[in-house]
């Protein structure tokens, strides 16, 4: 594929491999005149910018030269490793001159670009080559068998490789050996090649096939094999490339006869020794494998001959060719389409003609259109064999569980020599372990959990704590495992009961003591006289008088109000006590409203038991005091909530110190989820060890909560789930798959955890153990083998994948959301025998859309059911009596379910989880209805929605049993029969609302469900017309409230129709009609 074009008739030289960016230098060719017959000459430098899709090369510099060139090379001499100095351009001129240019100066636009010049040669200098081992050494060849070796550091005096060959002839090619630095080869049009040893300073071998037809136009050494070289012949009678091995120099090793006419130039790829370019007078550019003779590639060219061809040293897929039609083209041998070329042609034509009106016809030309057939031609196939440089020899990829897969292709030298190489192909799987401390700490934690040695673990952590805060946290955690945890919490907050007692005693003795005594004395002195003296009851108009009057009339309320108004607090309280509880409470409230002292609010809270107020409004600097108060006074049922509240306030405070203290509150509250949130906010949790820090606390707290508050800690919130799976992921990444599994919360539906669990189980190399999750938690997508046609499960194809799969952390419910029970429909179905046909349509936990807050896979939040309540709650009301034929779905899977009415539902729905967890407060209520369940047939939600208020909604069990494993989209009931459903359901509703006894209600409720069979049959349109018309008649009679007529029609239908067709719903319809008749609705 052609990449770039330059319209020049010129010799070309690529910048050395070290150089970036890639430049191409062109020097006006001495041999070929272009169409203008211009004698001016120039040296130009272009940049190869492959990110520019156009065919133009970016011109960087032009230097007007007084010379025209026979040969141009670009050596890396004096380039440093950074490539700042861009080497030396060495040009062979017409009159025995060699000129050294500084390309960086040319690019910079300097006038003095010539480094040195020497015209020691005779005639045109056609051959030049740089020694790749000593880049300061340049060999040149000219007429009269002249060969010079130039040292660029000492350019004035060249050396010779030895005595001139006789007879004198032109040197057309010269090349340094690619393996041995002191070996040089030269060739001449006469067909002879000479190999020189510079150490011996003489020719060591002459290579010739004695045909006298070889007319050497090209010479190249094998890039890898020191003794091999190729010679190309320009002679049309012998258009061959000969491959010689100097060890067998009597005849060519191989002759490549791929060109029809003489070869003008060759170039051997340094990047891949199996690629040799040649261009000839047959206007072909071929790429062949000189080691086999096979042609690998023919470049698409025009009909022009190319006289020079060069591989780009830096970009091995790129080559340039200079052709006699005055153009240098840059190609890629990797194939590809040549859209760019076409575009350039279009552009050229367009710019010449424009779309205007070049001929003055008054009509603009239509836009140029490129014939379609060129497009097909422009697809250029790549090399027949892949070049060496795209063959990746080594690689390493991580996979799950911290395994690293590496492969290498080591060449093992075999005895037979270089060509017979054996390759060892190995793939290694290694375990990468980088976090040793993390692993050992995780191991410790696991042991603690197993051995239950929490107290000593916490103590160890306290002892090892680096910071006060860390110490506090562990102390708080430790308290959870000790008796009188609240008292100990108080101690930790600095409120030791004994200390306080001492302090108070001290204070009373020293300061308050005398004061109190005085007061008491006063009181006595006041009381005594009043008791003994005259008792004046004033009823004057002042306050005293009014109070008196109120008291006398028994109006305590007014009296208290008056006292309060007069700020006689003590009087008011005393009076209020007399006035009864209610008045006392009111008075207290009023007092507190009026009183403003600092301590009042605390007193308020103590008296009113309103701790929420304290926690909500205390100054956060006093969080310790607030927490202490809560610890002392709060009732068990509100304790956690209050701690939570305080924690939340602390957390939302800007002060980062206070934020971290919130953790302590959460520990008191036993709120794992919030602890995680707060901790994550305060600490940088990205490193394994800090995650370990968090998980240690979380695990301990969870255990504590399990022990003390008897709550089910197996339910896991979103954030904790995220952290736990992060932790498990880390463990897994270190190869500790079993440990990762152990730390993953077991009883959860969090998608990320379920996924990880599945992945870990399978990674262990075993089918998922036990009943945990017998199926992978993904929706298995059906991918048929190329053949079209309807397949099962296509409705779930990834066309709308986002609705089916939610990644971790998506759509979390509001925190604190309480959900009773934790029903996983898939867990329920998972243990059922499932036929393979259901595999693909199973609704798994993985892609479950969450449309409802009540969805089964919402993370269940705290479920604080005290231990004692567990047992009774766990017993379920008996399942409504249903007979097998009543299964509304007719789903084979549902029918496999045990139909015993008394089947304990929790068992069937939860059996995939370990039993002990079931006892952990899982309660079942009717609200389990998974509204978000896409496969939920509408019939299931019906009873709930349409059931009469107060009617027992007993379908929870029904629903659990028949949770579909398939997504079933029910057909709608045909419009014309919809009236049946609405009429019957309406009737049941009416009956339900007027029925009084629960038995009737249950009957009706049951009937409502059983009628689903009828609706299903209507959907499927399987009922015979006579039955349908009969049903419509019944409906009509219901509408006219003539139920006895309805019953008559009913009897008629039953007697005339097939029993099996009607048995599912007709009896129940009769029940409804009878009831309606009885109730007279």
């Amino acid at each position: 594929m052609k990449l770039k074009e330059i319209d020049r008739t010129a010799m070309q030289a690529w910048s050395p491999a070290q150089n970036h960016p890639i430049y191409l230098a062109t020097g006006t060719s001495a041999q070929q005149l272009d169409a203008t017959f211009s004698t001016s000459a120039s040296l130009e430098i272009f940049e190869l910018d492959l990110s520019d899709p156009s065919l133009d090369m970016k011109s960087c510099a032009t230097f007007s030269s007084s010379h025209r060139y026979h040969k141009l090379i670009w050596g890396p001499h004096k380039m440093d490793s950074k490539g700042n100095v861009s080497g030396v351009l060495i040009a062979g001129g017409e009159n025995g001159n060699i000129i050294l240019y500084d390309p960086s100066k040319i690019i910079a636009g300097d006038k003095e670009v010539v480094i040195a010049q020497n015209d020691k040669h005779t005639g045109p200098v056609r051959a030049l080559d740089v020694n790749i081992f000593q880049t300061n050494l340049v060999a040149s060849g000219a007429n009269e068998s002249e060969i010079y070796i130039w040292d660029l550091n000492n350019f004035a005096t060249p050396m010779t490789p030895g005595a001139k060959t006789q007879p004198p002839e032109d040197i057309s090619c010269i090349a340094w050996n690619r393996q041995v630095q002191h070996i040089l080869a030269s060739a001449s049009p006469s067909g002879r090649a000479t190999v020189w040893d510079l150490r011996k300073n003489e020719p060591i071998i002459k290579v010739s096939d004695h045909s006298n037809r070889m007319h050497c136009s090209g010479l190249a050494w094998h890039p890898d094999v020191a003794t091999q070289m190729v010679l190309a012949s320009e002679d049309d009678r012998l258009p061959v490339i000969q491959m010689w091995d100097l060890r067998f120099a009597s005849s060519p090793l191989r002759v490549l006869e791929n060109h029809a006419r003489g070869i003008l130039a060759i170039a051997w790829s340094m990047a891949d020794p199996e690629l040799l370019l040649s261009c000839g007078k047959d206007a072909k550019i071929l790429c062949s494998n000189p080691n086999t003779g096979e042609v690998l590639y023919e470049l698409p060219t025009n009909t022009q001959w190319c006289f020079d061809i060069q591989w780009c040293p830096r970009n091995p897929a790129v080559l340039s060719a200079a052709s006699f039609d005055g153009r240098i083209s840059v190609y890629s041998i990797m194939g590809g389409s040549a859209d760019g070329l076409r575009q350039k042609q279009v552009d050229k034509l367009s710019s010449s003609f424009g779309n205007l009106d070049p001929f003055g016809t008054g009509q603009p030309l239509p836009p140029l259109q490129i014939p379609q057939q060129t497009a097909q031609h422009n697809i250029v196939l790549p090399l027949k064999k892949p070049p060496k440089w795209i063959r990746r020899p080594v690689g390493a990829s991580f996979s799950f569980g911290g395994k690293l897969v590496t492969f290498e292709n080591v060449r093992v030298q075999a005895q037979q020599g270089a060509e017979q190489q054996q390759q060892q192909h190995h793939v290694f799987i290694s375990q990468v372990v980088t976090e040793k401390e993390f692993l050992s700490r995780s191991d410790q934690l696991q042991q603690v959990v197993q051995s239950q040695g929490f107290v000593s673990y916490c103590q160890k952590k306290i002892d090892a704590s680096q910071t006060e805060f860390e110490k506090n946290v562990w102390s708080f955690l430790k308290v959870n495992f000790e008796d009188d945890s609240r008292g100990k919490y108080l101690e930790l907050l600095g409120y030791r009961k004994e200390d306080l007692g001492k302090k108070i005693a001290l204070a009373l003795n020293k300061v308050d003591g005398p004061d109190v005594c005085i007061k008491e004395g006063k009181q006595e002195s006041e009381f005594l006289p009043s008791a003994g003296g005259t008792f004046n009851i004033s009823i004057s108009g002042d306050i005293d008088g009014l109070i008196t009057q109120a008291l006398l009339t028994g109006n305590f309320e007014s009296a208290v109000d008056l006292c309060l108004h007069d700020n006689r607090m003590a009087d008011a309280i005393i009076l209020a006590i007399a006035g009864g509880q209610e008045l006392l409470a009111q008075t207290q409230k009023k007092y507190f409203a009026k009183s403003q002292s600092k301590i009042t609010r605390l007193i308020t809270a103590v008296v009113m038991k309103n701790w929420k107020e304290i926690v909500e409004s205390c100054d956060l600097k006093n969080w310790r005091e607030a927490l202490a108060a809560v610890l002392t006074y709060a009732k068990p049922d509100e304790f956690s909530a209050l701690c939570d509240l305080l924690g939340t306030r602390l957390e939302s405070e800007g002060d980062s110190l206070l934020q971290t203290q919130a953790c302590l509150c959460y520990i008191c509250a036993g709120n794992v989820e919030k602890l995680v949130a707060c901790w994550t906010k305060a600490q940088d949790g990205s490193s394994p060890l800090s995650l370990q820090d968090l998980i240690e606390k979380v695990v301990i707290l969870r255990k504590a909560v399990q022990l003390t508050q008897a709550m089910d800690t197996n339910t896991v919130g979103v954030l904790l789930a995220e952290k736990m799976s992060q932790y498990a992921n880390l463990l897994a990444a270190q190869g500790s798959i079993a440990a990762a599994l152990a730390f993953l919360p077991e009883n959860t539906n969090q998608p990320n955890i379920v996924q990880l669990r599945d992945r870990l189980c399978r990674a262990q190399g075993q089918p998922v153990p036990g009943q945990e999750s017998p199926k992978i938690p993904y929706e298995r997508q059906q991918l048929p083998k190329g053949r079209p046609g309807p397949m099962a499960g296509h409705s779930q194809m990834p066309r709308v994948p986002a609705q089916q799969y939610y990644p971790h952390g998506e759509n979390p419910p509001p925190p604190g959301f309480i959900m009773h029970g934790n029903v996983n429909p898939n867990a329920a179905t998972a243990q059922l025998p499932t036929s393979p046909g259901h595999m693909h349509t199973q609704v798994p936990p993985y892609p479950q859309p969450q449309r409802s807050q009540n969805g089964w896979n919402d993370p269940p939040a705290l479920n604080r059911v005290p231990k004692k309540k567990k047992m009774p709650e766990n017993f379920m009301p008996p399942v409504p009596i249903t007979s097998p034929i009543m299964n509304p779905l007719g789903d084979p899977q549902s029918q496999m379910l045990p139909q015993q009415p008394s089947a304990p539902v929790p068992l069937s729905s939860q059996a995939s989880f370990p039993q002990p967890h079931l006892a952990g407060g899982q309660t079942f209520h009717g609200i389990q209805q998974p509204l978000g369940q896409p496969g939920m047939p509408p019939s299931f939600s019906k009873p709930n929605i349409e059931g009469a208020p107060g009617a027992p909604i007993g379908n929870t069990i029904q629903h659990v049993q028949s949770l579909p494993t398939e997504k079933i989209t029910k057909k709608p009931i045909p419009d014309e029969h919809l009236i049946l459903k609405t009429t019957f359901e309406d009737l049941i509703q009416r009956c339900l609302s007027s029925a009084t006894d629960p038995q009737t209600k249950r009957k009706l409720d049951d009937a409502s469900k059983r009628l689903e069979f009828l609706y299903d049959k209507l959907r499927e349109q399987t009922l015979s017309p006579t039955i349908i018309s009969g049903l419509h008649n019944i409906a009509r009679s219901i509408e006219s409230r003539n139920y006895s007529e309805g019953l008559t029609i009913h009897t008629h239908i039953v007697s005339t129709s097939n029993f099996s067709e009607t048995s599912a719903f007709m009896p129940v319809l009769k029940v409804v009609l009878t009831q309606a008749n009885k109730l007279g609705v």
């Binding site: 990797m334 063959r391 290694s430 190329g786």
Partner: protein, 308 residues
């Protein structure tokens, strides 16, 4: 000559591909090695293999010098070709499955400079989108960005379709790394050009998301350099490179660990090194992998192979 070896999602199966045109699948559970399948269908050296997420079944994609991409599927224990993509004009060098959240989408990078995206549309049909001239004279690597919804995950209102922005990175012979983004109309647009390498970009690897807002890409090149590119801003437009190391030889491959904290770098000197970012943000070589060493190790030996 083996050119790629990849484990499946669970790390229990190993797929290899080779110059001998074969794709092989081994069961490597419990340290064993059982050849499950020897898949034939390519007519040239096979460069890369990629496992699809198991939610779509057991699916493997392979790409080859024969200009084809083949998608293989296991059906009832038998591996068979399920699709063949022939839309490229030159060697297909890299295949990479999109995050499974998007559906079954495969990105393929080719020496013809184009990148094609195959999307499974059901009914055995694959829709092809092609980005022409993605990298002049060749795309060497493609790597998808992890599925992350812009903005916080927590803020996503429940029940709504997550608003994913699909992105991937590619590296090519134009020394560039390019980032591509799917526009709302479903067209792929070049979003960014990352320039730092001075020679062919041999591989790019977008790091898995670990819940941080930072995006990270590793790239390696013919020039021996490995760069770590990071982008902190939410718009995803400012990427800054950090030189991990300059090796003396071509670096062929970079691979992130699942937890995105370790980078495995494979060089032309047949060396594999592991790198980790230290606390101060410097990349440190933590190990030269001694192949086959470790607590879990298995070695799969393929005998002398027929070089193509």
């Amino acid at each position: 000559m083996i050119h790629d070896a990849q484990m499946d999602y669970y790390g229990t199966r190993l797929a290899t591909c080779s110059s001998d045109r074969s794709v092989k699948i081994f069961d490597v559970r419990n340290g064993g090695q059982i050849l499950i399948a020897d898949l034939r269908g390519h007519e040239g050296p096979v460069w890369q293999v990629a496992w699809a997420h198991p939610m779509y079944g057991n699916i493997l994609a392979s790409c080859s010098y024969d200009r084809k991409v083949i998608i293989w599927k296991e059906e009832n224990g038998t591996w068979e070709k399920t699709h063949e993509h022939t839309g490229h004009d030159s060697s297909v060098n890299s295949v990479c499955w999109a995050p499974h959240d998007y559906g079954l989408i495969l990105a393929c990078g080719s020496s013809d400079g184009a990148i094609s995206l195959l999307t499974y549309t059901g009914e055995g049909q694959w829709e092809v989108k092609k980005i022409n001239n993605a990298h002049t004279i060749g795309c060497n690597a493609v790597s998808w960005a992890p599925a992350v919804v812009p903005g916080s995950l927590i803020d996503q209102p429940s029940g709504q379709k997550p608003n994913y922005i699909k992105k991937f990175a590619s590296g090519g012979c134009d020394n560039l790394i390019k980032l591509w983004k799917e526009e709302e109309d479903g067209q792929w647009k070049e979003e960014q050009k990352l320039e730092a390498h001075s020679d062919w970009v041999r591989d790019v690897a977008w790091a898995p998301s670990i819940g941080l807002p930072t995006s990270t890409i590793a790239s390696c090149s013919q020039d021996g350099r490995v760069f770590i590119w990071t982008c902190d801003d939410t718009s995803g437009n400012t990427w800054s490179p950090k030189l991990l190391h300059k090796f003396n030889d071509v670096v062929w491959h970079v691979s992130w660990s699942i937890t995105a904290n370790i980078l495995a770098v494979s060089g032309g000197d047949n060396k594999v090194t592991l790198w980790k970012e230290s606390v101060d943000g410097q990349w440190v070589c933590i190990s030269d992998v001694n192949k086959g060493q470790g607590s879990v190790s298995a070695s799969i030996t393929e005998g002398q192979q027929n070089e193509q």
